[in-house]
């Protein structure tokens, strides 16, 4: 027995333990994606909600929202994309709450795997899901008249900016999922966080249409900054420093939220 143990310790150089941490993370990311496709309702809901938002704002509210400098659909679709990637974080919270509830996190903690892979695998799987949603909503956007003037490279850059932002923000939702007593509560807890961020923002209307008291928040909060960056890139408008501001927010958020989630994970189960 002791002999085996000694062999193991000598095998685990820093290099191999990093390699294993990556391998564990991918194993769990793959597991989460497999599970996602096995629950068709979850996939359908993830897709239907943003599509409904596009149609609702394009055809119902859009006519009543004046926009300077471009058409409303061009203004709307980049915003909806940002909103959708942020909504994707809800599944980070629900997924971790379910794993905790089912005792899977306990099982993972007793395995000789990298513990961080549980959080890494979840957030990466949710990012992969966000990529799929971005592609689909882009398609829907084009179908209802979205015509971005920026180039293809700028479009990809815009997608990367919002994926990075959503990824960093999802660590906060990982914390929520681990702190909630069950997945239903986890889901309910995400809404009071997500609604002000996405609706008190420049996602659906320009800043000047918001009431004066709301503007300072709406203008400076990170979702608006990200929406500005994404919209400027996609529509070929002057980007200014919006991309950098969004990325800075991403770094700041992950630096604050990831330790919270990791600490919660250590104490969970």
């Amino acid at each position: 027995m002791t002999v085996t143990a000694v062999k193991y310790t000598s095998d685990e150089s820093q290099h191999t333990s990093i390699r294993w941490a990556i391998s564990d993370t991918l194993t769990l990311a793959r597991r989460n994606l497999l599970a996602l496709f096995r629950i068709p309702t979850a996939v359908v809901f993830a897709m239907i909600q943003p599509v409904m938002f596009v149609l609702l704002f394009r055809y119902v509210f859009g006519g009543a929202i004046p926009i300077r400098g471009t058409t409303y659909v061009n203004y709307l679709v980049p915003g909806i994309l940002v909103q959708t990637t942020i909504f994707g974080s809800v599944s980070t919270a629900i997924g971790l709450a379910e794993d905790l509830q089912r005792g899977l996190i306990e099982r993972f903690k007793a395995l000789p795997m990298a513990r961080m892979a549980v959080l890494g695998g979840r957030t990466i799987a949710d990012t992969a899901r966000n990529v799929m949603v971005l592609i689909i909503i882009t398609g829907v956007g084009f179908a209802v008249g979205f015509r971005p003037q920026g180039g293809f490279v700028d479009y990809i850059a815009a997608c990367l900016v919002m994926l990075v932002f959503a990824y960093c923000l999802s660590w906060g939702f990982a914390f929520v999922g681990l702190a909630a007593p069950n997945s239903e509560t986890a889901q309910a807890m995400t809404f009071p966080l997500i609604f002000p961020l996405t609706f008190a923002s420049v996602i659906f209307v320009q800043l000047l249409r918001l009431p004066g008291w709301l503007r300072p928040f709406a203008n400076n909060q990170p979702v608006s900054q990200t929406a500005d960056a994404v919209r400027a890139l996609m529509l070929g408008q002057p980007v200014g420093d919006s991309v950098w501001v969004s990325l800075l927010w991403s770094v700041a958020l992950v630096a604050f939220l990831a330790p919270l989630a990791v600490n919660r994970f250590r104490r969970a189960a």
Binding site: I39, R102, A110
Partner: protein
Amino acid sequence: MSEFAVEATNIVRTFHDGSFRALDDVTLRVPTGEVFGLLGPNGSGKTTMVRILSTILSPTEGVATVAGFDVVKHPELVRRHIGLAGQFAAVDENLTGFENLRMVGFLNHMAKPHAITRSRELLAEFGLADFGNKLAKTYSGGMRRRLDLAAALVANPPILFLDEPTTGLDPQSRQDLWAIIEGLVEGGTTVLLTTQYLEEADRLCKQLVVLDHGKIIAEGTSSQLKSRLGNTVLVLTFGSTEHASVAAGLIADLSSKAPNVDGTVIELTVDSGPAAAADALRRIDASGTVLVGLQLREPSLDDVFLNLTGHKAEEPATTESGDTGGRRARRKAKV
């Protein structure tokens, strides 16, 4: 491996900033190659002990080694030597049985072909070969437990922790699981098992400790515990509570233990059931009290507790149907 696969010394674990002592100075030694039982009702600290030994929780005080490694100083080495099957089958319902096992193989850092062969092997061994490609959510309770146990065995761990492996299972599934555990021990595995069932402890465990409110209240081999307790419980039911209390006085000297009178029912633990029953019948018949029922049964955990602590194991054994109520109760209990 040394003589003891698991050694835990003076383990204390508190929750809620010290206001609740889940484990209070527990010391136990699990001999290598044996099945060791932690017997106790819900909330007695069994699961907390298993969590500490499997490096999920750290002890507030005390030292524990598993396979010779300190659970606090070298948890990563402990994890290479243990398998854990929890109280609620921790399988991913949205993966197939095969995918569940393969995932655990990968997380044990097994090479892909090895993880695949081992998963197929375990599915066959546990009677799940035909269901390997079915989603775990379609499995019955017994199948889930077997899959959960198989997942704990993927890396062939020399030490296995089983937290209430048969709670809520039907008798046949329970028998199946017992046979599997016995097979593992024949193969040299050390098993630490928690249970609420005296019958299970008696069948599987060479040595036992009985936990109550986080303290060890008895330890020894199962036959030692039984001889302290009496082998059989004689249950007599009377037509009225008056008759029951009269009869209790008449038969009290048939056992070294005092009879437990609950309404019209008397329970008495005795060494020899048939002889005590015959004696009791003669005396009751002569006294003119009206007996309406007589039963001999194996002592239960409740009887053990009644004898050792003077109180019953408070909570009845919960049945698991995979319902969220049970999971919630569990999560609440472990906070």
